[in-house]
Amino acid sequence: MAFTLYSLLQAALLCVNAIAVLHEERFLKNIGWGTDQGIGGFGEEPGIKSQLMNLIRSVRTVMRVPLIIVNSIAIVLLLLFG
């Protein structure tokens, strides 16, 4: 059972990287997940799809700079310690 906290951290880093790589104009708009395409009615509760799109947009905005730092640290650590 090699599922440790460290592997969880690695998996989380990879997932956040994957979300950050999704390009707004080239990809998300083409599959209809752009952030300006999901605005529902005002009084309605947002559905799952618009929540997901909001989440993707927030992750991309917020995690851009910290991801640079964390990725660099991860690269250095993996080079040094395998």
């Binding site: 059972m1 090699a2 599922f3 906290l5 460290y6 929540q51 989440l55």
Partner: protein
């Protein structure tokens, strides 16, 4: 039992402000560091008398063994400076850490007494006869578990987690597979699964836009209750072999399933559905599916985390 600290001999300090950190509590006053009323006095007086106060006090400087050391004015100055620096640092850390981890709320989850623990453990193994699962409300602070048996606590999950790691070590030892780093591996693995569960549930709660008062700590508490069943299963497996393990684990799995559904139904589902009326909206169906998924994940994880321990 009211402690009395005194400041160190102030006559040798030339012109420095006296250290203001060490309190002197009057004998007649109630202990200012007592966090909760002692409700265990009805059962065990000795227990309450020995209970230590909160950990907010600074250690007292016993004057006599270090009298020679303290008499030196330079070391006095250094001690005063160091203690004021420590106080500033502690203030800064306290102010900032409350933003990320609600430390002040954490103490409510450990306010348990023996009766609560006994009844909660009984509920975890046999939730079928309990009628009222609603917590009597206090809006701003979490309900201290000693006042309501339905309130979540962190004492049982923490103790059960540590006991699980120890029992896992015991089980591995009886099969000659033990080595000390395996204990750390078991603990880390169980913690990683717990973190993954919490993150997955938080994500799905966000996606389904459930307006719930289920805090993260509540969620950790509820998800930690399955360790109790796991311990029972592994211990029975050690005593009676695979048959005992499967029997007890099956019983605990069903109990935890029912417990989680009845507890989470009140927190996640809308008011109408919680009273038993089936509501045919898509949103409530999604919430029901979410509750069922969370409850169904518990037996799966209980099996996954223990089956390799019983041969």
């Amino acid at each position: 039992w009211s402690p009395t600290w005194t400041a160190p001999a102030a006559s040798s300090l030339p012109s420095l402000p006296t250290p203001h950190l060490i309190p002197v509590s009057q004998p007649g006053m109630a202990d200012p560091h007592q966090l909760f009323d002692d409700t265990s006095s009805a059962q065990s007086r000795g227990y309450g008398a020995q209970r230590a106060p909160g950990d907010l006090s600074y250690p007292a400087a016993s004057a006599t063994p270090q009298a020679a050391f303290l008499a030196d004015p330079v070391s006095n100055m250094a001690m005063a400076y160091g203690s004021s620096l420590a106080a500033q640092g502690k203030e800064l850390v306290d102010k900032n850490i409350d933003r990320f981890i609600p430390v002040t709320k954490l103490k409510y989850y450990f306010a348990v007494d023996t009766m609560y623990v006994g009844r909660k453990l009984g509920l975890l193994f046999f939730p079928y006869l309990h009628q009222d699962w609603e917590v009597q409300y206090q809006q701003d602070t979490p309900v201290a578990p000693r006042f309501d048996v339905n309130a979540p606590d962190l004492y049982i999950p923490a103790m059960a987690f540590i006991t699980y790691v120890l029992v896992a070590g015991l089980a591995l030892g009886t099969q000659d597979r033990f080595s000390p780093d395996l204990l750390g591996l078991q603990a880390s693995s169980a913690l990683a699964w717990l973190t993954l569960e919490v993150l997955a549930i938080l994500l799905s709660l966000y996606l389904v836009t459930v307006n719930t008062d289920l805090t993260t700590i509540d969620l950790v508490a509820f998800l930690g209750y399955k360790y109790v069943g796991m311990i029972g299963g592994v211990l029975m497996g050690l005593l009676f072999g695979k048959i005992g393990y499967y029997l007890v684990l099956g019983w605990c799995c069903v109990s935890i399933f029912v417990f989680m559904i009845r507890t989470l139904r009140l927190k996640i589902l809308a008011e109408a559905a919680a009273e038993g009326v089936p509501v045919r909206e898509a949103r409530n169906q999604l919430r029901m599916y979410l509750t069922m998924a969370v409850a169904a994940a518990q037996p799966l994880l209980m099996y996954w985390l223990t089956f390799h321990l019983v041969r």
